[in-house]
C-alpha cells in the first residue's frame, strides 16, 4: 500500500465523477482492503457465537424449524404442498438453505454500516469492507448448511446430481444481487433506520411467494408474479441444479443473472460515490 500519497478532500458537490476512473478506484480499494474484510469477518465470526450456547447450530435450526412446521401444516391438511420429486424435507431444506444465503445476507448487509457506526465516525477506512465482510459471513453460514445437507441427503438416501459442482457458479448472480441491494439498503438504513425492519419483512414476504418451500404451482398469477422475482428465479435455479442437474427456466436465469450484474455494479458505484458523506449522517 502506498501511503505517501496526497489525498485531497473536496466538497461532494465539487467532485467530478468519471465512471471508469471510479470503477478502477473501487476495484483497487477492494484489493487493498482485503485484510480489513478478513479481520472484520473474523471478528463477527468469533464474536457472533462466543456468548451463545448452541453457537453455529442456530444456522441450521432455523431452516429445520421452518421445514418442520410446513410438514406439520401439510400433514394436518391445512396446507396442500403437492408432490415433489424427492422427499419433501430434502427438497425444502436445499431450497431454503440457498434462499437463506440471500435473505440473511441481505439483512446483515443492510445492518452492516449502522452497527459499526461507532467505528465509522471515528476512523476513516473503506466502508465497503463492512458490507463485503457481512456477505462473507452469510457465505460461511451457507457452507455450514451445505455440510448439514450432506447428512440430510444420506439420511433420506437421496443423491444430488453430479452437476452440483456448478453450484458455486450458479450462486454468483444471487450473491451479486444480495450485495447490490445490500449496498443500497445499508446506505439508506443510515439515514432512515426503518429500512432494516422493512428489509427483514420484505424477505419474509418474498419467501412465501417463492416456490422454495413448495413446488412451482401452475396458477397464472403465480407464474407472472414470479417472473419478476429475481431472488426467486436464482434460488430455484440453484436448487434445481442440485436436485435434478438441470435448470428448467434457463432463459429466465440468464436474464436474471445479467440484470443482477447491472444491479450490483450500479449499487456499488452509488455506494462508493455516497460513502464519503455517510459518517456525518449518523
Amino acid at each position: 500500500m502506498n501511503y505517501n500519497q496526497t489525498k485531497v478532500y473536496l466538497p461532494l458537490s465539487q467532485q467530478k465523477i468519471n465512471l471508469f476512473i471510479l470503477w478502477k478506484q473501487m476495484f483497487c480499494e477492494l484489493i487493498k482492503s482485503r485484510e480489513i474484510i478478513w479481520r472484520l469477518f473474523l471478528r463477527d465470526f468469533i464474536a457472533g457465537y462466543k456468548q451463545s450456547l448452541l453457537g453455529f447450530l442456530w444456522v441450521i435450526i432455523m431452516p429445520l424449524i421452518m421445514v418442520a412446521s410446513f410438514i406439520f401444516l401439510n400433514r394436518s391438511g391445512i396446507l396442500n404442498i403437492g408432490k415433489t420429486e424427492i422427499p419433501y424435507p430434502v427438497f425444502a431444506l436445499v431450497g431454503l438453505s440457498i434462499w437463506q444465503l440471500f435473505a440473511s445476507g441481505l439483512v446483515s448487509c443492510t445492518n452492516s454500516i449502522v452497527t459499526s457506526g461507532g467505528l465509522i465516525t471515528k476512523i476513516n477506512f473503506p466502508k465497503e469492507s463492512l458490507v463485503f465482510s457481512s456477505i462473507a459471513q452469510s457465505l460461511l453460514e451457507f457452507t455450514i448448511r451445505i455440510a448439514f445437507l450432506v447428512i440430510v441427503f444420506i439420511v433420506f438416501n437421496v443423491y444430488p446430481s453430479w452437476k452440483i459442482i456448478f453450484l458455486p457458479l450458479i450462486l454468483i448472480p444471487l450473491l451479486l444481487f444480495t450485495l447490490g441491494l445490500g449496498f443500497l439498503f445499508s446506505l439508506l438504513n443510515v439515514v432512515i433506520r426503518d429500512i432494516a425492519n422493512f428489509v427483514s419483512l420484505f424477505v419474509t414476504f418474498l419467501l412465501f411467494i417463492t416456490p422454495v418451500l413448495y413446488p412451482q404451482p401452475s396458477s397464472r398469477l403465480f407464474v407472472i408474479i414470479n417472473k419478476f422475482n429475481l431472488p426467486g428465479i436464482l434460488t430455484t435455479s440453484a436448487r434445481d441444479i442440485v436436485i435434478t442437474g438441470s435448470i428448467p427456466q434457463l432463459t429466465s436465469f440468464i436474464y436474471a443473472s445479467t440484470l443482477c450484474l447491472f444491479i450490483f455494479v450500479i449499487c456499488w458505484t452509488i455506494f462508493h460515490i455516497v460513502e464519503p458523506i455517510v459518517a456525518e449522517k449518523f
Binding site: Y3, P11, S13, I46
Partner: protein, 420 residues
C-alpha cells in the same frame, strides 16, 4: 473521496487547508430529510448546494485556512463546541468539507476515540489485529510490532481476556498503543489522553516527543494548556467554528485565556449559599490600598474585603470566615477571625467587618471569594456564601495576562546572577 494528485502540492507541506467550512444540522428530522436529498441528488448527478445554509443548519466550522509543514506540531485550543473535533475529522477524511479544499500529504493516523473499533467480546490479542487492520496495517506489520504494542499498553495477563473485562484505563492504553504503532506520518490527536493514569500520560507524552523528533507532523487538540505549550510551536484558537487566532502557541494561549476571562466577567457568579439564616452576609466589597472599590488588583497589592452582615438576633462569639478560591473552587487561602485571635463578643443588627489580605502573592488570573458566619462551635453556619465575589490579579510590570507562570503562588521573585 480521495483522489491522487502527484506532486500537486509542495512536498514539504503536510496539511493544507483552504477556506474550509463545514455545516451541521441541529434537528434530527431535518437532517434525515437533508441526508436523503443529498444522497439522492448525488446519485442522480444533481449538484448539491453545499455552500448555503438550509433551515436549522449552522456552520460548525467557518472559513478555516492554514498550512502545516512536515515535522511541525500544531495545537488546537478553544472552548467546548468550538469545532476542534470537527476539524480533526475533516483532516482525517472521516467527513467531507462543505466548502473549500483540504490536501493531506502522508499517512494519517487519527486518535479521535481510542479503541473505537474494539469488540467487547473479543480478547485484547484479537482486537489488536482487528484494530490494526482497520488502521491500515497488514498482518505482517502487526506481527512485527505485536510485542511492542503489548509492552506499551502494559495490560499484562489481560491480553487474552475479553476487552469488556478491561478497566477504562486499560482500554484506552491498548487503543493508544495500537494507534501509535500504525506509524502515521501525520498524527491527529483529540483530547483522548485525559483518561489514562499519570504514568501512562507521561509515557504518551514521551512518545509524542519522540514522534516530534522523528519529524512527524502532529495536530493536537487539548484543554491542557501546559501540554500544548510544551508540545506545539504553533497553535490555533477556535471559537464557535471560527479561527480566532493562529500564531505562536504562547500568544494563542494568552488569547484563549483572555477570551475565557471575557466570558467569565459577563457570566453571573452563581454563588451557592446555605446556613440557618439567623445572620446573613448582605454584601461584599473589595477595595485596594487606596480604598478604591475595584475587582482588579496588582500582584503584591493589599486586598481589603469588607463584609456587610445583618444578624436577626443576638449572636455571641460569632466567627467570620473568608477564603480565596481559584476558578475550580480549589481553596487557596482561608482565614477565620478565631484563627487570627480576633474576638467578637456579639453581633446584632447590621454591621461591617473588614479583612485585609496583605501583599497578595498570586499568579495572574481570576479568583473567587467564599465568606461565612459561623457560631462558636464552628459547625452549622449561620450563612455560608460561595463565590460571593471575584477578582482579577494582574502583573504590574509584565503584560496584563502572562500565562507563562507555573502554579498559583507567586511571591515577589528576584533572580541574581553572579559572574565567576
Amino acid at each position: 473521496m480521495q483522489k491522487n494528485f502527484k506532486n500537486m502540492i509542495d512536498n514539504n507541506i503536510a496539511i493544507k487547508v483552504d477556506n474550509v467550512s463545514k455545516k451541521f444540522c441541529k434537528r434530527l428530522r431535518y437532517s434525515i430529510a437533508y441526508g436523503l436529498t443529498d444522497i439522492s441528488k448525488k446519485i442522480l448527478g444533481i449538484s448539491i448546494e453545499s455552500q448555503k445554509l438550509r433551515k436549522n443548519e449552522f456552520w460548525a466550522l467557518d472559513d478555516i485556512s492554514f498550512e502545516l509543514k512536515k515535522g511541525e506540531t500544531l495545537g488546537i485550543i478553544g472552548p467546548n463546541g468550538a469545532g476542534k473535533t470537527t476539524l480533526l475529522k475533516l483532516l482525517s477524511g472521516i467527513i467531507m468539507p462543505d466548502k473549500g479544499k483540504i490536501e493531506v500529504n502522508g499517512r494519517v493516523g487519527a486518535l479521535i476515540e481510542l479503541g473505537a473499533g474494539f469488540h467487547p467480546l473479543l480478547t485484547g490479542r484479537e482486537n489488536i489485529y482487528i484494530n490494526g487492520a482497520i488502521l491500515g496495517m497488514s498482518k505482517k506489520e502487526i506481527d512485527k510490532k505485536f510485542d511492542s504494542i503489548v509492552d506499551f499498553a502494559d495490560i499484562g495477563d489481560f491480553l487474552d481476556m475479553p476487552v469488556k473485562s478491561y478497566s477504562s484505563g486499560m482500554f484506552v492504553r491498548l487503543g493508544f498503543a495500537v494507534a501509535i504503532h500504525s506509524e502515521p506520518d501525520i498524527l491527529l490527536i483529540d483530547e483522548v489522553l485525559a483518561v489514562g493514569d499519570m504514568n501512562f500520560r507521561r509515557k504518551c507524552y514521551q512518545r509524542m516527543l519522540d514522534l516530534k523528533k522523528e519529524k512527524k507532523t502532529i495536530v493536537f487538540v487539548s484543554h491542557n494548556l501546559l501540554l500544548i505549550k510544551k508540545l506545539c510551536q504553533k497553535s490555533m484558537l477556535l471559537d464557535q467554528g471560527k479561527m480566532v487566532f493562529y500564531d505562536n502557541t504562547v500568544l494563542t494561549v494568552n488569547n484563549y485565556i483572555s477570551l475565557q476571562e471575557n466570558r467569565f466577567s459577563k457570566e453571573p457568579l452563581n454563588g451557592y449559599r446555605w446556613g440557618t439564616g439567623e445572620a446573613k452576609i448582605e454584601y461584599v466589597k473589595l477595595s485596594n490600598i487606596d480604598n478604591i472599590v475595584t475587582d482588579t488588583f496588582y500582584n503584591g497589592e493589599n486586598i481589603c474585603i469588607t463584609l456587610g452582615y445583618n444578624a436577626s438576633k443576638k449572636i455571641e462569639n460569632p466567627i467570620f470566615w473568608i477564603c480565596i478560591t481559584d476558578d475550580e473552587d480549589n481553596k487557596i487561602s482561608g482565614t477565620t477571625t478565631m484563627q487570627e485571635n480576633v474576638i467578637i463578643p456579639y453581633i446584632m443588627g447590621k454591621g461591617e467587618i473588614k479583612c485585609i489580605f496583605k501583599n497578595i502573592s498570586l499568579c495572574p488570573g481570576i479568583y473567587y471569594i467564599i465568606a461565612g458566619i459561623y457560631g462558636e462551635d464552628g459547625e452549622e453556619p449561620y450563612d455560608r456564601f460561595g463565590r460571593i465575589a471575584k477578582f482579577r490579579i494582574i502583573e504590574k510590570t509584565n503584560q496584563p495576562l502572562n500565562p507563562n507562570f507555573t502554579g498559583i503562588f507567586r511571591p515577589e521573585v528576584k533572580w541574581l546572577t553572579q559572574d565567576k
